[in-house]
Amino acid sequence: MTTSTTTTSTPQLNSYRTGPDERGFFGQFGGRFVAETLMPLILELESAYNAAKSDPKFAAELGYLHTHYSGRPSPLYFAERMTKHFGGAKVYFKRDELNHTGSHKINNCLGQILLARRMGKTRIIAETGAGQHGVAVATVCAKFDLPCEIYMGATDVERQAPNVARMKLLGAKLNAVTSGAGTLKDAMNEALRDWVSNVHDTYYIIGTAAGPHPYPQLVRDFQSIIGQETREQMMKAEGRLPDALVACIGGGSNAIGLFHPFLDEKDVAIYGVEAGGHGLNVENGHAASMTGGTPGVLHGNRTYLLQNRDGQILEGHSISAGLDYPGVGPEHSWLKDSGRVKYVAITDKEALNALQLCTRLEGIIPALEPSHAIAYVEKLAPTMGKDQILVMNLCGRGDKDLFTVAKALGMQI
């Protein structure tokens, strides 16, 4: 490991909210590790985003779509029975699964499609794992009448059939990717290859807070509405900020969206939950890049990765297609090394149990991704006092996972 660059990421910070720097780094993580063909476009995107940020018209247009199209603000819900069941902290759910299209992914897609339109791009591409991002992209492309192509690993196409049907219905062209293990990382490679070949007219809507700068920043900013709303709603409900935040992490966009507005609140403990798959001790059997990986460079940024000693990327495993990615957004890597956020891992089995528990206790079927967060709440809440408050981001609904869950539980559908 290079140690010379890590010094910038060690604490003594006045704020955890100032990153990235002008070169796109959070400490040693992030950056712009892309082919020269893409560099001019990435610089153009950065300046287009900076212009949009300071344009009140952009904010107004996005705000209108949030309210009238995706249904924001999403509720902050007191999970009363779950709270009683765990016997500790008061548990709240941030209900981003109630957004149009069923997850937090629409927050980012609405922001990026407006950006693509401002840049005059006429064709949209995206990668997807669980299909939630693909559905959100196909949705905004239908709404704004832009042709779109979605890259999805062949394995994921098979295990996320309902979302595949939704994307097709919405008019997206779906490309099943067979290279590698046919999962999210391979889909991202193919989307990058498409982008390199079609830079003149194509905008790439990356689905998570990863990739080359400025994507980690702009995706975070578009998702931060989750945390901003949570602050306001919590002040209204309890008159104070929560004691703990919990969110699941694949690439980490829902988590950074919840966390970012709270990073400088020293009294708010923050937990990111990675996919522990079959267990962190099982080689290539999990998708926990931070708790079970090492730093490296992939898909345009330096971050924690699942890789072997030769720097070859491993496929990883999770029962949840949305967490099955061998990397993580660079800001999370930095928050891990700086110690601000604690990252933990939950296994497939624990997540499956949490999904069932939430369904029975609250009448909400969560997606497998936030079921990992719920499983950690199950461990954390009982260790906290009854006067303490915990918020978990319920970032997606479970309809898409019915077949996977039924199969895992031996149910006949």
């Binding site: 082919a35 020269e36 063909t37 079609n198 992939l298 720097g311 070859q312």
Partner: protein
């Protein structure tokens, strides 16, 4: 930097008055021994500069042919240390033909970088082409490589405009690699007239030799592109010849080495034609 093998080779080509042939094959494709035999045979077959691919699991800028080559190499057990060993074996027999390692940053970063550069220099590596290290990341690898006496060869693309070109050229040494198509390796076919115009405009901004690659497959294309460039790079076609020569079990056959070297011979003949 003092003149390197690459500088000397381009000076010799200039004196001969012909474009050079740069050949790309992936280290360890389809296995260590076959790849090494191909490497050993390249200079005699007419390769002026050798690009040796460092296999990577996620080659984002490569088309299907080079993706498959990397996977074959990794499957056969190739890794970075073996790639450097292959260069050292080559260097023991050939002290003049430049070798440029081409690939992606991650396997170098985890090696880690300083140790890699020292080992690469010792093995006899002359240059590096690292697809995902743009000028914005020069302090990561480009500048340390120069300190080790290794040329860092930068790619320029059709999207590199006149404003950006000086940034790309700034720390480039050895030669500039012009990517002749907007896309991934071995897919579209470059238009020689457009390429020549672009190379001519690049040469107004630099005294470095300019090599052209991505999409050059046949001797005819190599000849046409070579007329307006200092060198032509052929990769996917050679890797494709390896693939076609393999047995039904995916292993090398008696014809694998000669399939590649025969194609190099005809490409080399074409760039030598006036």
């Amino acid at each position: 930097m003092t003149p390197t093998r690459i500088d000397r080779r381009f000076a010799a080509l200039k004196a001969e008055g012909r474009p050079g042939l740069v050949t790309f094959v992936t280290a360890g494709d389809p296995d260590y021994k076959t790849a090494r035999d191909i490497l050993f045979g390249l200079p005699a077959a007419g390769a002026d500069i050798i690009e040796l691919g460092m296999p990577f699991s996620d080659p984002m800028a490569d088309g299907p042919a080079i993706q498959a080559a990397g996977l074959r190499a990794l499957k056969s057990g190739q890794n970075m240390r073996k790639t450097l060993q292959m260069v050292a074996e080559f260097r023991a027999r050939d002290t003049e033909t430049p070798i440029v390692l081409m690939g992606y940053y991650n396997p170098i970063f985890v090696y880690p970088t300083d140790e890699f550069l020292a080992d690469a220099k010792k093995a006899g590596v002359d240059g590096l082409i690292i697809v995902d290290c743009p000028p914005e990341a020069d302090d990561e690898l480009c500048l340390p490589a120069m300190q080790h006496g290794i040329n860092f060869i930068r790619l320029a693309a059709p999207t590199t405009d006149n404003k950006r070109l000086p940034i790309v050229l700034k720390n480039t040494s050895g030669f500039l690699y012009y990517v002749s198509i907007t896309g991934i390796t071995g897919t579209a076919t470059p238009d020689p007239t457009e390429v020549h115009a672009k190379v001519a405009s690049i040469k107004k901004a630099t005294t470095l030799p300019v090599a052209v690659g991505f999409g050059v497959k046949t001797p005819e294309q190599a000849k046409a592109i070579g007329r307006g460039a200092d060198a032509v790079v052929v990769g996917s076609a050679l890797v494709g010849a390896i693939e076609k020569s393999l047995g039904s079990d995916g292993k090398a056959t008696a014809g694998t080495v000669s399939a590649v070297l025969n194609l190099v011979k005809s490409l080399s003949g074409a760039v030598r034609q006036r």
